[in-house]
């Protein structure tokens, strides 16, 4: 009998956002997440739980990150915002059907491992 033991490590970038995610803050989030993508990171958890507001400019940043992560063979999982003002844009755009969206970071981590 032969036993082979290997270790598999998946690096996950957990990005936690709070406050307003809009046209004015979106460029900063975009720059930071694109820097991570460029550095080779491809698994992301975006913790949106404490966001107070999100608009379509913010949504565009998430879409751009999802495209980049998928192209690299990874993925993006969202932690659902608690505030309706932040959740609204996800529901209006129906991106709740495109992104994996879960209730907390722990569940999001399990989702990422299942990618």
């Amino acid at each position: 009998m032969e036993i082979q033991i290997s270790e598999r490590v998946i690096r996950v970038q957990v990005v936690t956002l709070s406050g307003r995610f809009d046209a004015f803050s979106a460029p900063d989030v975009r720059q930071q997440t694109q820097t991570l993508l460029a550095a080779g990171e491809k698994y992301f958890v975006l913790n949106l739980r404490d966001l107070a507001f999100m608009d379509s400019a913010a949504m565009a940043v998430l879409v751009s990150l999802l495209k980049g992560a998928r192209t690299a063979g990874g993925g993006v999982t969202l932690v659902k915002p608690k505030d309706e003002n932040a959740l609204r844009i996800l529901l209006l755009t129906k991106f709740d059907r495109v992104f994996k969206m879960v209730e907390d970071v722990d569940t999001a981590m399990r989702e990422v491992i299942n990618v």
């Binding site: 046209a23 565009a60 192209t71 609204r88 209006l92 495109v98």
Partner: protein, 397 residues
């Protein structure tokens, strides 16, 4: 992926042609796209579509005003057999008459029946269109009949797999009124990578510009009356009013009649059709962009362009614009629709205050560059991929 797009496209002068031009140009460059097949309207005799760019095929497949457009479009789709079909339409895309216009709007349902995934980008919805001003309601009874028919055809459009609209309120209206669950918000997007904004705090000419297809809900009479008031109020200033564009397909001869009616007013420039290569110049030469609308039929591509070129916008106090501004971060000075004095005052508020003009121009610029159309195309592609995956999952293995 091979995608068929049913739309107008330059040099066709039908509405949404410019949107289609930029949308297709970005879509064809996406790595997941093998081919974009444009199913466009037939041009008048003697005119021809240019050689399409790489990964694009142009097939004239319907005719503005014809009654058989829906059937022709379905046949054309079956011939090219794409992976998915996208309609870039508004209520008057297929005709300027009620029957032909409405029958044309059954095309998405027919194409879906033929077995293709269908996405409709609907630039306006009947619920917010002032039919009489849009050229579709000759009297109250006809307007009511048109609206009832509009409800029926809206339901037909909603039979598509996805219906995309550009204003949040439209999603909510369609969900509430029709119980739709397949309506998505997809931003209009800015047409191109915007150049760095240029701002001249002391221009030698107050050049007021309106851009579009005129004669239905975009009318120039009130704007010209406001221009006359400004000429009286600013005797030492060189003023110019640029009316950039052509007649709406529903209002042939309108601008010619305006030229004759206001032949005695100096300083008015009618540009006629504005070619793609001249659009940037027309916007950047304008001091202020005016939206002389008495109602709206949807989101405004012109507002996005004004933002793209960092221009201040003078807007009618109408619901859609207020909604768009709030949701997408634009700003402007408002006037009471169809009130020349109010419009002149709104223009003066910008002209007399260069700091405000600059600040608002910058805000519009930042908002317009927020979501370039290349990213909006990604939104559609993600949804189309989801539709195709769902279909594949349903296929028996």
């Amino acid at each position: 992926m091979r995608i068929a797009i049913v739309s107008t496209y330059p040099p066709s002068r039908g509405s949404l042609n410019e949107y289609a031009y930029y949308f297709v140009d970005h879509m064809r460059q996406k790595p997941e796209i093998d081919e974009v097949i444009l199913l466009v309207d037939e041009l008048p005799e003697g005119a021809a579509y240019p050689t399409p760019p790489e990964h694009v095929k142009i097939i004239p497949a319907w005719k503005f005003g014809a009654l058989d457009n829906a059937m022709r479009i379905r046949r054309a789709v079956q011939e090219v057999n794409p992976d998915a079909v996208l309609f870039n339409v508004q209520f008057a895309t297929f005709a300027d008459t009620r029957v032909a216009g409405a029958v044309g709007l059954t095309a998405p349902a027919l194409v879906k029946q033929a077995g293709y995934p269908v996405v409709v980008l609907l630039h306006n919805i009947m619920e917010t269109v002032d039919l009489s001003k849009a050229g579709f309601g000759a009297n109250v009874i006809m307007e009511r009949v048109t609206r009832t028919a509009g409800d029926m055809f809206t339901r037909a459009i909603l039979s598509a797999d996805l219906v995309a609209v550009t204003i949040p309120k439209y999603v909510e209206i369609l969900e509430a009124k029709y119980g739709a669950t397949n309506v998505i918000l997809a931003p209009h997007g800015s047409f191109q990578d915007a150049p760095p904004p240029q701002f001249d705090p002391n221009p030698s000419v107050l050049r007021i510009m309106a851009f579009g297809k005129f004669g239905t809900y975009k009318r120039v009479e009130v704007m010209i009356e406001a221009f006359k008031l400004l000429r009286e109020q600013l005797p030492g200033t060189t003023l110019e009013l640029v009316i950039a564009g052509t007649d709406s397909p529903n209002a042939a001869g309108y601008l010619e009649s305006m030229k004759q009616t206001y032949a005695d007013v100096p300083g008015i420039v009618y540009t006629g059709y504005v070619a793609e290569e001249d659009v940037a110049r027309i916007f950047t030469e304008a001091t202020i962009v005016v939206f002389p609308y008495n109602s709206t039929t949807g989101s405004s591509g012109v507002l996005h362009q004004a933002g793209n070129y960092a221009r201040p916008a003078v807007l009618p106090d109408l619901g859609d614009f207020a909604e768009l501004i709030r949701e997408e971060g634009y700003t402007g000075e408002f006037f009471v629709p169809e009130n020349a004095a109010s419009l002149a005052e709104a223009i003066r508020r910008y002209w007399d205050n260069p700091e405000k003009r600059q600040a608002d121009s910058m805000q519009n610029y930042l908002s317009s560059v927020g979501i370039p159309i290349s990213e909006v195309v990604d939104w559609y592609l993600l949804h189309i991929e989801r539709l195709l995956e769902a279909r594949a999952a349903k296929q028996p293995s």
